[in-house]
Symmetry: C2
DNA sequence: GAGTGGTCTAGACCACAGA
DNA sequence: CTGTGGTCTAGACCACTCG
């Protein structure tokens, strides 16, 4: 094949399918031909088609229902605006930031909240200056999605000392959300830091977020600081990289 | 094998090698055994070992020199602090932010700068409000690395109208860097926005950054805004996800 | 040319979903 | 039970590096 200069066959097959999707031949949500058919059409073995599909799945462009078929991913990326999420202004307009982001895609947000008292991960314990060996934090574990598509798991850790008996321990944190509660409790968050990495998902995340091992998640390590430079909340956000664009904004000093 | 509940063999092999690396059996920079040897030792086919290695390479944990061997990646991730990079404070201390970040790893930074007048990409043209069809911008293309390890390609686009004949068109932009030149020219950047995605590298990036198709890059779309809300600089940063941690910081409003 | 990794095929078997 | 994708093997061939 003169048209494949140095590119391996399976990557070429991936290119062909990717282009067909981009050209609208297979619209969002539609099924791709079976592996056997693609193998025949393209004159390669099924194993090679499988390799090609693995590439597309890793990119988040294709989703596979084992035993059923292969489908084009239905959802475009969500834009997460970090600064706006925490601005007092936006928050007071009503629902949460995630809800707004999902609505922007014409979908309905689904959020499931679980609250526990837990021993925090070592890194969290260190930042919050609490014990990693006792249930020294309240964890708010949120599973978020658009309709039936899981999109994010976010776990907030708050020192029990601060959260005990307050609305922070309730599912519904009330108007203005958790940030407003912190302010009322004398722990107004004035400075935010976030640390972003891209890494393979854990087994748990693969299951919750309907991912494969070849895909990647953003892990956002979010910390809220008071004027006294005390860390009062750490939130770990995990979401598929292919489902998100992360926006940041700040003023220069 | 009772020890592999549902996990496929090649992922299990990847786990074994990953653990051996984590345990220090193969230190940073050292060679792994040949695929044949690993296949023999573990009682699997070479193709399966190859699949496993592909997983580790995608994670950035292993690097392959074709025809030579497989090696453990030598460099831990670099921390890029977005806010500090652009704070007047830090910049005036001397060398650039990248230099500081690389020194933190005990390495020497290498930067190669190329300056051209180019027609900007459509998205850049739109933000800067210049023509995408003429050489309406000065492009500062920087290839950065630590010693001989390539780490980042950053391309700044500045409207010719602003940059023409100034130090911005020079390789060495002088004390305080390009940001100081903008200020002197009456285009002080007071607000920064960054948009982060993780995506497969382009063919060019694979070559420049010594990557494989299965790895991912962060693409940071950086824009500098003046007090008059005019975008005066767009910089596109591209770096391997496994080589970077992205830090952000801002004050709540 | 020898050695190493990268890919491909054919065929086989397994896992999972749905009729 | 059938059909779909996921993986594995053995063997083959190719590409790249180094001596």
């Amino acid at each position: 094949m003169r048209s494949t200069p140095k590119r391996s066959v399976f990557r070429h097959v991936a290119d062909v399918i990717r282009k067909a999707i981009a050209d609208g031949e297979y619209p969002r949500g539609s099924a791709l031909p079976k592996e056997d058919e693609l193998a025949d059409e393209l004159g390669v073995s099924r194993a090679t088609v499988n390799d090609a599909v693995r590439v597309l799945v890793a990119e988040g462009l294709v989703r596979v229902h084992r035993g059923v078929g292969m489908f084009v991913t239905e959802l475009p990326p969500i834009v997460r605006n970090a600064a706006a999420r925490y601005s007092t202004d936006e928050r007071e307009r009503g629902r949460g930031a995630f809800d707004v982001e999902v609505k922007a895609l014409g979908r309905t947000s689904r959020v499931r909240v679980r609250i526990e008292r837990v021993a925090p991960p070592a890194r969290v314990a260190e930042i919050l200056k609490v014990s990693p060996n006792e249930p020294s934090t309240v964890a708010r574990i949120r599973h978020m999605g658009a309709d039936d598509i899981p999109l994010q798991v976010a776990t907030s850790y708050i020192p029990v000392e601060i959260a005990a008996g307050t609305a922070i321990e309730q599912e519904d944190t009330g108007p203005g959300g958790i940030i407003s509660r912190f302010a009322e409790l004398g722990h107004k968050q004035v400075r935010i830091t976030e640390s972003v990495t891209a890494r393979p998902p854990t087994a748990e995340e693969i299951s919750y977020l309907a991912m494969t091992e070849d895909q990647r998640v953003f892990e956002i390590f979010h910390t809220g600081w008071t004027a006294e430079a005390r860390a009062v909340e750490v939130c770990v956000h995990v979401m598929p990289t292919h489902a998100y664009v992360l926006d940041y904004e700040w003023m220069t000093v």
